[in-house]
């Protein structure tokens, strides 16, 4: 499990931890959509600021761990922005004055603005994702999808059960590798190494499927597919907090899009 990143968990009670997951999902999606419908860089900047405020004040997440977690995004933002600016179609438009000219290549003001808007989308999306998935775990998300949005419960809880196989995968990977070495399968050339990786992935998938089959058998033995109406252990209800979160998120998205510069 150590290979996979540990999930961020709230370390103190906070407003968003008491908002149900689907309400946070609606709010996060509103910001995602607001950031992808525009090519004006001021919109993602405003949304990033709003998301940082929400993270600090209401998420309850350990703030010190967040920069490290988001660091890989820097590369994504820079490369996407650079690409969007360099290959922008507005650079070819001779009626727009060039800001930078490098030989035959020219970069225009609109290209830079639109490129920044596209690159900064990554930031808006990453922060809203933290606000949606950070304050509670997958179990609560499944509860919320089943009780509030009436997702089919066998699919939601079956998926939740299947999530348990993820931690075993790293161990399987190591064991399978050791077993193959023991049998003298030691690839030298890059092509052989690629085949070896393929073989290991297949064996890992087989182990995962077998584990899932046993899990399903155990679940059925305990009446998972009995057809009797399911009652809920952890009851979730839509409260005023959910509506407040959704209304505020929509208002922030609308303001980010509509406010003059």
């Amino acid at each position: 499990m150590s290979v996979l990143p540990a999930p961020l968990q709230p370390v103190r009670p906070a407003f968003l931890t008491r908002v149900t997951p689907v309400a946070r999902l609606v709010a996060g999606m509103a910001w995602l959509v607001a950031s992808i419908v525009t090519l004006d860089p001021i919109v993602p900047v405003r949304l990033i600021l709003a998301a940082v405020v929400a993270l600090v004040l209401w998420s309850g997440l350990p703030l010190r761990r967040i920069p490290g977690r988001l660091a890989p995004l820097g590369l994504a933002i820079v490369s996407l922005t650079a690409f969007s600016i360099l290959l922008s179609s507005s650079n070819g438009d001779r009626s727009v004055a060039a800001v930078v000219t490098l030989g035959p290549a020219r970069i225009t003001g609109p290209a830079i603005a639109a490129g920044l808007a596209v690159g900064l989308r990554v930031g808006v999306i990453a922060l809203s994702t933290l606000l949606v998935f950070g304050p509670s775990d997958p179990t609560r998300m499944a509860d919320s999808l089943v009780q509030q949005w009436h997702f089919p419960d066998r699919f939601a809880y079956g998926t939740l059960a299947a999530l348990r196989v993820a931690p075993f995968m790293a161990g399987d990977w190591g064991t399978i590798g050791a077993a193959r070495r023991l049998r003298g399968l030691q690839p030298r050339s890059p092509a052989a190494r690629l085949r070896e990786t393929g073989g290991r992935l297949l064996a890992m998938l087989v182990a995962t499927i077998r584990r899932a089959e046993r899990l399903a058998l155990a679940m059925d033995a305990r009446g998972f597919d009995s057809g009797i109406r399911r009652t809920h252990f952890r009851e979730l209800r839509t409260t005023w907090r959910d509506w407040l979160t959704i209304v505020v998120a929509l208002a922030v998205a609308a303001a980010a899009l509509a406010l003059p510069r």
């Binding site: 996979l4 990143p5 999930p7 996060g28 999606m29 995602l32 992808i36 090519l39 977690r69 890989p72 995004l73 590369l75 994504a76 490369s79 996407l80 690409f83 969007s84 290959l87 922008s88 179609s89 070819g92 290209a111 639109a114 596209v118 989308r121 990554v122 999306i125 990453a126 809203s128 994702t129 949606v132 998935f133 997958p138 066998r154 699919f155 079956g158 998926t159 059960a161 299947a162 999530l163 196989v165 993820a166 995968m169 297949l202 890992m204 998938l205 087989v206 995962t208 499927i209 077998r210 584990r211 899932a212 089959e213 899990l215 399903a216 058998l217 679940m219 059925d220 998972f224 597919d225």
Partner: protein, 199 residues
């Protein structure tokens, strides 16, 4: 009288063929989880090294992302398998910290839906290599329909067309044919005995 049990059992068989058993749900979800974990490694350790290839060439092997949408239906052969598997893989990759975050859910939905439509056209009766290839391409079209407006709205028409066609081709070859070969390899290990794909 003798026709009635036969009639009943054929009805039961057709109901059984579209109803999801627990083992179908858990195995498809587990395969999707496995792919979600692979995606996380892929995004963090492989995809970043493809960046220097430049657009649109880095999309040559983007088909890996839509493999669950082909592999899961080939195994369980049930309506909804493509969409369900691709969505679970997307959710897992979000939970693990995909750089595309919530947007992965949108990607997963359109990619799964693209493959689902293709399997739906055959009434979920045909699962050969040709259908797999077309389903892969369908998922690739879904992928492009999402990626072009969201990530490459400013790019020139040529680059946009280049990315879209590479995504589609890569999905057809890597996910379609690759997915079909993967299911064949899985079948030979005997792990799929409880599924229709075992035949």
């Amino acid at each position: 009288m003798s026709t009635i049990p036969a009639f009943k059992s054929s009805l039961a068989a057709s109901a059984e063929s579209t109803r999801w058993r627990t083992v179908d749900i858990v195995v498809v979800a587990a395969i999707a989880v496995a792919f979600g974990v692979v995606f996380w490694f892929w995004n963090a350790f492989v995809w970043v090294w493809l960046r220097p290839l430049g657009e649109p060439w880095e999309y040559v092997i983007s088909g890996v992302w839509v493999m669950p949408a082909v592999v899961a239906p080939l195994i369980v052969r049930k309506p909804g398998a493509a969409l369900f598997a691709e969505m679970v893989a997307a959710v897992v990759s979000v939970i693990l910290g995909s750089q595309w975050g919530l947007d992965t859910l949108l990607s997963g939905f359109v990619q799964g839906a693209g493959a689902e439509l293709l399997f739906g056209f055959t009434m979920y009766r045909s699962f050969g290599p040709i259908v797999a290839l077309l389903a892969g391409a369908g998922a690739g079209i879904g992928e492009a329909l999402h990626d072009i407006p969201v990530w490459f709205p400013t790019a020139t028409r040529e680059v946009q067309i280049g990315i879209a066609s590479l995504e589609m081709l890569s999905a057809a070859v890597v996910a379609g044919i690759g997915g079909w070969l993967l299911v064949r390899a899985l079948r030979r290990t005997g792990v799929l005995q409880t599924f229709p794909a075992a035949e």
